[in-house]
Subunit: 215 residues, 2 copies
DNA sequence: TTCGTCATGTAATGCGTTACATGATTAA
DNA sequence: TTAATCATGTAACGCATTACATGACGAA
């Protein structure tokens, strides 16, 4: 039951209509809680019925009218409550990795999988680059350190960073795996991938990449 | 509708009972398709009814009897079919990152979140280490390169690698974020985290870590 | 004698996905 | 005139989660 909480936190510090939330989910909340427009639209009346958000009609000319929602006190309490409850482990759902699991069973399937991995790598890299842009525009002319020290709501920055990291990681894995599968299909050595790098764990050695330098 | 496919691929090359599948999901399939025991048990009769798997009773003494399932020809075709269909983007669901999104709204909540991040980092690292062990036992005395060249079914290795990478990445993110939040709460600089590292993108510079060296 | 493992479920409820539906405005 | 954006849904179905349930064996 966390779509509820995902919607509530999206309303922290800003009122928004359903359509705006749908758009906001695309670039921020989707990084940790992917949801379809239908789900979001369906959730809003439920939250309002429970008194966690309050909606009001906004009449527009040249545009359809819309219903704009704000967090209530009860909604804020629900968020704090949620934060006080133990988190469940993260879960991934990935069709493509289900396919990777079959690798070695059928050569034609393997070729298909490798080409889908290439495509996935490109998509992930594109999304990662988008996140890098968003992060840099959040920073303005400040360094990340300055931003994290001075900005009051750093949450959106930190979660966008999560999305960036996930996409980069996914792109990296997809490229590596595509090469491994294809090299086998050719019966050749795996080119251009330093599999024998002496580092055993990325976790201690590698800092998070910098957003400020480069594009 | 991919739990179906996750179960089918788990039966590639080996017959298994429900209980065994539940256990297998824990350490391998869960890395890309997390599912509860109840879901798996419920899925098996459905797959059998569709003719994608065949079950037979195995009578045991000293143990409850069990029903063991094998892929049918139709099941294999269903897998190939699935592979030929375009994959959906990966999705993450992560409670804790929903909480991170709120950071900056309430200091007490922030402290709570930072401490949950510490815990998460530890759990992820433990799981990553477990995967490293599993990977090394798959390799035996071969290098990864040798393994990928010579073993016929490399799928389970590649997906375990995915799990390892995800857990390491998640641990790294959790540590970094916990520090960022806590440093702000103290009003201090962020210690020990090289935020200003000149590398802009992890994806091109960093190879996948090696499994063979270290423990 | 208590816990963990083996072995398998049911039932209720709620969440999520897919397909379908509408209708105006504005930019290419 | 075609597509994209704004704005919001309904309906059907199937998937997922939570709680509950059973019962024997073996190890500590």
């Amino acid at each position: 039951m966390t779509l509820r909480h995902a919607v509530l936190v999206a309303l922290l510090g800003t009122e928004a209509a359903g359509y705006q939330l749908v758009k906001a989910f695309d670039v921020s909340v989707a990084n940790f809680w992917a949801s379809s427009p239908q789900q979001i639209y369906a959730e809003l009346p439920k939250l309002e019925a429970r008194g966690l958000i309050a909606g009001r009609e906004v009449v527009q000319t040249n545009r359809p009218n819309k219903r704009v929602y704000t967090l209530t006190k009860a909604g804020r309490d629900e968020i704090s409550n949620f934060i006080a409850t133990a988190s469940k482990p993260s879960i991934i759902r990935d069709d493509l990795v289900v396919k990777v699991f079959t690798t070695g069973d059928d050569a034609r399937d393997d070729a298909q999988i490798a080409s889908e991995l290439d495509q996935r790598a490109t998509e992930c890299q594109a999304r990662a680059d988008l996140f890098t842009q968003i992060l840099r525009s959040m920073l303005g002319d400040r360094t990340e350190l300055e931003y994290l020290q001075n900005e009051q709501r750093i949450g959106p920055y930190l979660t966008c960073r999560r999305g960036q990291l996930f996409e980069q990681d996914n792109a990296r894995y997809s490229r590596w795996t595509a090469e491994a599968i294809r090299a086998r299909l050719r019966g050749q050595t795996i080119p251009g991938i330093p599999l024998s790098d002496p580092r055993s764990s990325i976790s201690e050695a590698t800092p998070l990449p910098n957003v400020t330098s480069h594009g």
